[in-house]
Symmetry: C3
């Protein structure tokens, strides 16, 4: 049995009049996340953590932001590609842990739903996914959402 | 035997006239860390990494900042709760590695003491804890302390 | 068999008229990274992740920036020291995953070369190294390069 570790980071600025989707979960909020795709900062960080763990490049390798095909893209498509790369490399997910850093909306009340949604998209149990949140104390980042994700894989 | 990975992040702004405590270690410094609790940025990041590794929520789930009970709270209480969650889930700590990002005080001279303190609080050997520090070069974050923590657990 | 996890972070500001070296790879670019050493933000993050995984201090412990010996130093020297510490502790690298956060230059076109260079410096296969990149969307960090690195070791 072999194990592998991966780490992903992402950030997107908040923007009025755009739907907010984090971890594949639509969230009621006056602002969404700007980006070439749907701006799902959490799925992007997880996607990159999975790709990095099997040394398969990153989101930008597979889905260049310069390519109009990915304009407004559903980030679940990116995640699916990463899961295929993990499978092809002969690995499966042990667990995933994440942190969202954003001043609002509050994540605690929806963390359970988000965990279920992410677990479903990853094909793992909710108990194998960690969803955590922090406000960016002292960081002057109130208009942006940041996500960190770490994954452990086994063959 | 099963393994799990966790990652925690935290930040707190420096504030004059507050005692500075990092990793449970009181530090002589003209400023401390602002926060609802004692602002121990390192213990918060480790606590979240432990909770995330066993998918048990985050500090905010257990200790809402809106709850006056946790005003000025000793962060060792938060860590203790996370350690109980890890034990209940059937895991124990393999090792913990951390990075502090702050312009001052200098951490190198006190890193050994901090490592012993954190190890004691975690119930592991000092050699199973990594304490590292960086100044926030180019990041315009001189007035804030940031902590990253990663943990590896085994059942 | 035992396993260990490590995490490293680094940042350096861009500066005109300095050669740019990332992951040991010289890159054609009008600006390089400021720092006491050669400013190789990626090698610094990996070096710290390795040192942290075996609880051996950090770059600053071994190579104090106050020491004129390390002015303009080749960061491969730092990495070599970390690899020795890992070996002395009885561990070897399973895999390394990294993220570079910078607005430019574009990393995708050179990620393959960078991966080979880093793998060679670490003494592992390119398939055991992840090189990923993000632009700092919303973070107001266009003039700085940030690197995150995570490592998994086994004895
Ligand atoms: Mg993104
Ligand atoms: Mg905190
Ligand atoms: Mg550096």
């Amino acid at each position: 049995m072999g194990m592998r570790i991966g780490y992903g980071f992402d950030s997107h600025a908040f923007k009025a009049g755009v739907p907010l989707v984090i971890g594949g979960l639509p969230i009621e909020h006056p602002e969404g996340l700007a980006g070439h795709s749907d701006g799902d900062v959490l799925l992007h960080a997880i996607t990159d953590a999975l790709l990095g763990a099997v040394s398969a490049g990153d989101i930008g390798t597979f889905f260049p932001p310069s390519d109009p095909r990915w304009k407004g893209a559903d980030s679940r498509v990116f995640l699916k590609t990463a899961l295929e790369e993990v499978a092809v490399a002969g690995y499966k997910i042990v667990n995933v842990d994440t942190v969202l850093v954003m001043s609002k909306p509050k994540i605690v009340p929806i963390a359970g739903d988000m965990r279920e949604r992410v677990a479903e998209l990853l094909g793992v149990k909710p108990g194998d996914v960690g969803i955590k949140a922090k406000t960016p104390e002292g960081l002057n980042q109130d208009g942006v959402a940041v996500a960190h994700a770490t994954v452990l894989l086994e063959s």
